[in-house]
Amino acid sequence: MSNDAPGSATSDRVTDFERAQSSEPFQRLRKRHRSFVFPLGVAFLVWYFAYVLLADYAHEFMATPVIGNVNVGLLFGLGQFVTTFAITTWYVSFANRRLDPLADEIRSDLTATGHASRSER
């Protein structure tokens, strides 16, 4: 099962990956994945750096009390936790619903066509 040969680039030369790559289902999967993670990645980084810059340069604003001793800074900081947990949950549900079924389909297609010609694996 596990071979000790180094390098995972144990390129299998039989499977036609270029054809698989240009196939419609794969292009759909690629687009779906990228159009989810890239905008979300930009969004959380912008929110994180906005928070960092506020904490770094807008002390008075962050010190504004909101409820009792809880101030804007603390709420924004806790907000970072909330958004991190929310993005995590959102991504997982997206991946389970929209990415995994398509990836499984492409993988089983590849396995079916691959096994016909590659019996050594």
Binding site: S8, S11, A20, H59, F85, I106
Partner: protein
């Protein structure tokens, strides 16, 4: 005079009790490691625990690997002393996991085998890229390892009441020897179990203390904050105490924030954990578990830090041996007396042990798999010799860690963790992202980015005030500091990305499009990914 004062303050708690509880932890983990080591036969067993851990188990181990003594003792102390600014660290450490979750974890799991270099060299020229990736891996592990070992000595003086250099050195040597034993015998499986047990203890301990502190203030966060502000001044509730002093210190914080958020997804010992699960889906579940555990833990540290500030006070904490780091142990003693202090102390030691073990197996795997088997033996190593080389490397690294750890006792090495994150963010992350997402990326881009990112981060640190020219520098009497910040990230991270881009565009060699296609298809679908070993 000073010695007696120190002896008096360290007599909080009972060193024998602390040692006893820690010995209990060592005994339990040793049994687990020995049981886990029975199936260590192949390289996949030794390096990747046979890829047999589940997502939740691996996520807990990741939390155990990531929540180092620096983040437990250091963040609690920073909040207790500097208030809000301590909290800023934990946010960077947490948000960073989204980079790993969204962009890196699953794709790395699908295309790699044991190391970061497997992925980076997949579609580029094997030997030079692998060697560069191994170099940055070893550099990050080395910086991180030294910082942990230096922390061990500080803990000893705080928790065991040993403040002579000889005593501290003996304890560092004992910690190092235990770590060698765990990794040598248990491999990745043993290391993982040590991390899981430690994470459970650490989070449980922090949970108990958090509930306890909150109960003292009627479960009202505002009252706790009020009490902290009464004792430490209104300023502890808002940012600025630590980083807001000058324009340069503010810029330094931006640099640190950049390194924290982009560094995590490039830390080799974190990346390697993704190979211990059977599928990319389990790798995703690992990160989700890690994010929840780490996030909740950092919320605990917020309460604990302000609790220590309110119940013990900044001045008492700073006067204690161990300084800032003593906030959490002092709070434990205040709340639950010697028994709770003993538990928390044992957990702190377990933390160092678990993190050091994780770093060591990562460095040893990278050396044996990338440098020895692929570069020196050109992929033709005898079966079995690779793992033997890895085991020898474990012993060598362990000895280096012990000697280095003794050598840096008493030095201010906190910058080493920041340096490790900066190198990970500027040398590793650009190449990881480019090779997973940019079709045109090529060998020259990878080499420029990795060596340029590593070199610039190290050079900037050498010419920064942490090394020379300031009160807290390593060399106080000479001044060759040219770079005014203590964190190199703000320059070295953009430089790493830029060098990868420019290097790629200036090179005429096109990489094999078939292998690039293979990598992309495999990374997204998991086709042909390394499977779990069956025993």
């Amino acid at each position: 005079m000073i010695a007696t004062a120190v002896a008096e303050t360290t007599s909080v708690g009972e060193p024998l009790l602390n040692i006893g509880i820690f010995a209990g932890f060592v005994a339990i983990t040793l049994i687990v490691v020995l049981r886990a080591s029975r199936n260590n036969k192949t390289a996949a067993d030794y390096y990747a625990a046979g890829r047999s851990f589940t997502g939740p188990q691996n996520g807990t181990a990741i939390a155990g690997d990531y929540l180092s003594a620096a983040s437990f003792l250091g963040i609690c102390g920073a909040i207790a002393v500097n208030g809000y600014d301590g909290f800023l660290y934990s946010i960077g450490f947490l948000v960073a996991w989204l980079v790993a979750l969204l962009f890196v974890a699953e794709l790395m799991r699908n295309t790699g085998k044991f190391t970061m270099a497997d992925v980076l060299s997949f579609r580029l020229k094997q030997r030079p890229v692998r060697l560069a990736a191994a170099t940055t891996t070893l550099a990050v592990c080395f910086f991180y390892l030294l910082a942990q070992m230096a922390g061990a000595g500080g803990l000893v003086s705080l928790l065991l009441g040993i403040d002579q250099a000889v005593g501290q050195s003996i304890v560092v040597a004992v910690v190092g020897a235990l770590m060698i034993l765990y990794v040598l015998v248990g491999g990745m499986k043993g290391t993982t179990w040590v991390q899981i047990i430690k994470a459970a203890l650490l989070i449980a301990g922090a949970f108990i203390m958090t509930v306890w502190v909150l109960a003292l203030y009627g479960f009202n966060l505002s009252s706790l904050l009020g009490a902290a502000a009464d004792k430490g001044g209104e300023a502890v509730l808002s940012p600025g105490l630590q980083y807001g002093l000058t324009g340069l210190s503010r810029l330094d914080f931006v640099s640190l924030a950049l390194a924290l958020v982009l560094g995590t997804a490039g830390l080799p010992h974190v990346l390697m954990r993704f190979y211990t699960v059977p599928t990319a889906r389990e790798a995703r579940r690992s990160v989700v578990w890690a994010i929840w555990l780490i996030g909740i833990f950092y919320l605990f540290t917020l309460v604990l830090g302000y609790g220590a500030g309110a119940l013990i006070g900044k001045d008492t904490i700073l006067a204690a041996p161990g300084g800032v780091n003593s906030a959490a142990p002092l709070l434990a003693f205040e709340l639950g007396g010697p028994v709770l202090l003993g538990l928390i102390s044992a957990v702190a030691f377990a933390t160092i042990l678990a993190v050091v073990a994780g770093l060591t197996i990562t460095a040893a795997t990278s050396f044996a798999h990338d440098v020895y088997a692929s570069v020196i033996k050109k992929g033709k190593a005898e079966p079995g010799t690779e793992v033997r080389v890895a085991r020898i490397t474990v012993v060598v690294i362990g000895i280096v860690a012990i000697v280095g750890g003794i050598g840096v006792q008493g030095q201010n090495v906190a910058f080493l963790v920041a340096l490790a994150f900066a190198v990970a963010a500027s040398a590793n992350l650009p190449t990881i992202l480019y090779s997973l997402y940019w079709k045109r990326f090529n060998t020259r881009g990878a080499l420029w980015s990795m060596y340029g990112g590593l070199g610039s981060a190290v050079v900037l640190i050498v010419f920064s005030p942490v090394v020379s020219g300031a009160e807290t520098s390593i060399f106080k009497d000479v001044d060759f500091s040219l770079y005014p910040l203590s964190n190199p990230g703000i320059i070295s991270i953009p430089l790493g990305f830029l060098l990868g881009f420019v290097g790629t565009l200036t090179s005429r060699t096109l990489e094999n499009p078939a292998v690039a296609a293979e990598m992309e298809v495999r990374s997204l679908t998991g086709y042909g990914a390394e499977e779990a070993t069956k025993h």
